[in-house]
């Protein structure tokens, strides 16, 4: 990078106007060049996303014309008679992601706090290493594990237990199949926990030691120093890891489809089978023929994109409202 300075300095010659002079001064120091280069890459990401939306948009013309906004609230999904609607899939995506976050965030953040603050460095490093490895397990294998381990466990122990003790809630009523929203949420939770845990741990480790020492020096217990000083300091980074995890949960295909039951229906019960947007696209895209059918699957992709936009927005607003500060990126 140091090569930039030489060439730029020669070209720079202060002119009269103030703004230009400031600009040239910064150019001479190389700041503006560095700014520009990094800006271009940031712009590149922005452009890729725009292109992606554009491609999704132009390839979903038929369902947009035929169903319009009704596509988003229709419950039909009939490839034979070509009635298509997204509502059950949107519902399934939301419910499974919510379950996954409810389980994974406390576990991941709690685990990260322990590994970063309380556990000896050697053990902490070793365990985190294992956790990071989990991110590489192909999702088809998570799905197989879901079928052979999670589903029997849910069907024979967890679901009956929940029904017995919490059966007064509509969430835990109805017949038990094993597959369903709860199974999908659980498998998703296992899949996203590595992201939350490993990134949160690194963020916590990066908090300067002086912060802790200062808190301990005024008589705080270790937990108080952690919870009142270290965690708030690292809050933005932890939230970033949760955003990453949420996005992964929303877009996961293979593992979800193997355990969710793949039935496009809306049901209050977590034991009931459902379906998610990403799952139906992966399931049917490779075997679909006919433009209306194919394009409706693409339209689902667009719907998921819109859903992600809204969810991210809501999450940011929530964070902004609760913290009252602009820490939420």
């Amino acid at each position: 990078m140091s090569t930039f300075t030489g060439t730029v300095t020669q070209a720079a010659r202060p002119e009269g106007f103030g703004r230009a002079r400031v600009f040239l001064k910064r150019l001479r120091s190389g700041d503006e060049v560095a700014h520009l280069i990094t800006l271009i890459f940031a712009l590149f990401i922005f452009l890729i996303t725009c292109m992606l939306v554009y491609e999704l948009y132009i390839h979903s013309a038929i369902p947009r014309r035929r169903f319009g906004w009704h596509f988003l609230i229709s419950r039909a999904w009939d490839p034979v008679f070509e009635h298509f609607g997204a509502l059950p899939f949107i519902y399934g995506t939301l419910v499974t992601s919510a379950i996954a976050l409810l389980i994974a965030v406390p576990l991941g953040v709690g685990g990260a706090i322990f590994l970063a603050e309380f556990a000896p460095a050697q053990i902490s490093d070793g365990l985190t290493f294992v956790v990071e490895l989990l991110a590489a397990v192909p999702s088809v294998i998570y799905g197989l594990l879901g079928i052979f381990i999670v589903i029997p466990l849910l069907r024979d122990s967890v679901d009956p237990f929940l029904q017995k003790h919490l059966g007064f809630l509509p969430l835990f009523q109805g017949p038990i199949y094993g597959v369903g929203f709860l199974a999908a949420g659980l498998v998703l939770a296992i899949m996203i926990v590595p992201f939350i845990l490993s990134i949160s741990r690194e963020v916590l480790l990066a908090v300067p030691t002086e912060q802790r020492e200062a808190a301990l020096a005024v008589g705080a217990t270790r937990w108080e120093s952690t919870w009142q000083v270290v965690v708030p300091y690292a809050r933005a980074g932890i939230l970033g890891s949760v955003f990453l995890a949420l996005a992964r949960a929303l877009g996961e295909t293979m593992a979800v489809t193997m355990v969710i039951g793949n039935t496009p229906q809306i049901s209050a019960s977590l034991f009931a089978p459902g379906y998610s947007i990403a799952a139906v696209i992966a399931n049917e895209f490779t075997e679909a023929t006919g433009a209306a059918y194919l394009q409706s699957l693409i339209a689902l992709g667009l719907a998921l994109f819109i859903l992600t936009i809204i969810l991210n927005g809501v999450a940011r607003l929530l964070i902004l409202a609760t913290t009252g500060r602009g820490t939420a990126h």
């Binding site: 990401i45 685990g111 992600t308 990126h329």
Partner: protein
């Protein structure tokens, strides 16, 4: 005052235990999965699996050597294409970004991360494969490359931000320009974290099947160069895992294990290099 002190100590112990439990549950579940895969995969692993081309059902031997090399090549393209973009954009957000545009970039990054992998595959298919007219290793690598960008951006930004501002101020006070301060003080201080993010992103895309089906396709044979269909471990795992034959499903487990072992090796290699260079930074 004494009660309060006892109360605080109790809370301290309680929360220590709770977070410890969280870590225990998480890590043990994950280790369980890993062990399950290792046990199942190890049993079917053999030397020929690592060195031979795939064989049809019913024939003894046969391996996935081409898929192992293929996955390596795809990840290499992905890293070359995706990591610089992610790093630079992360640096921009953390060190140079303004308000509105940064917000937009962050937002789109999160959106990009939530795109289902199959949709990403379809996207790269329409913008790379169709114009080129054929499937290729390059297209597959690009699909993976785009997928790893969001993770690299997000983690890079977070770790750069976590570096105390005093470090950069010190550098600036000594007369360094901002970019020089960032490049020589802030980035090295955050290096460990950034590297974690990059490794995590590579691990995450290493196991992806869906984006490869329509981009790198797959290949039963060796794929010389970069512009032909190429085999990869996840696609082979997928194809073999859903076949009716037991012998192929066993090979799928072995392939899953090999994939993990490869990621493990890369991770260990990176950690060794990192700890040698940056052991000083660990507090």
């Amino acid at each position: 005052m004494r009660y309060r002190s006892i109360w605080r100590k109790t809370v301290n112990a309680l929360m220590l235990g709770t977070t410890g439990l969280c870590a225990l549950v998480t890590v043990s579940v994950l280790i369980l999965i890993l062990a399950y895969l290792a046990v199942k995969g190890w049993r079917y692993l053999s030397w020929s699996f690592l060195t031979q081309l795939p064989k049809p059902v019913g024939e003894a031997g046969g391996g996935m050597a081409n898929a192992i090399v293929g996955s390596g090549k795809l990840l290499l393209v992905a890293a070359v294409a995706g990591v610089p973009v992610g790093l630079m954009a992360g640096i921009y957000l953390a060190e140079f970004g303004g308000k509105t545009f940064s917000f937009m970039v962050r937002y789109t990054t999160d959106l990009l991360n939530g795109v289902p992998s199959i949709v990403m595959g379809i996207f790269i298919y329409t913008i790379v494969v169709l114009p080129m007219g054929h499937f290729s290793a390059l297209a597959g690598g690009l699909a993976l490359g785009v997928m790893l960008i969001p993770i690299v951006v997000r983690s890079t930004e977070e770790f750069l931000r976590a570096v105390p501002g005093t470090l950069l101020e010190g550098a600036l006070a000594l007369g360094a320009s901002r970019w020089r301060g960032v490049a020589t003080v802030v980035i090295p201080a955050a290096f460990r974290g950034i590297a974690t993010g990059v490794l995590l992103s590579l691990a995450r895309v290493a196991g992806e099947t869906a984006p490869l089906l329509f981009t790198s396709f797959s290949n039963r044979y060796w794929s010389p160069g970069w512009s032909q269909p190429i085999a990869s471990l996840p696609v082979m795992i997928y194809t073999y895992a859903i076949s009716p034959y037991k012998s192929w499903r066993q090979q799928a487990w072995a392939a899953g294990f090999v994939l993990l072992a490869l990621v493990l090796l890369v991770n260990i290699g990176a950690h060794v290099i990192l700890s040698r260079r940056h052991s000083v930074q660990r507090g």
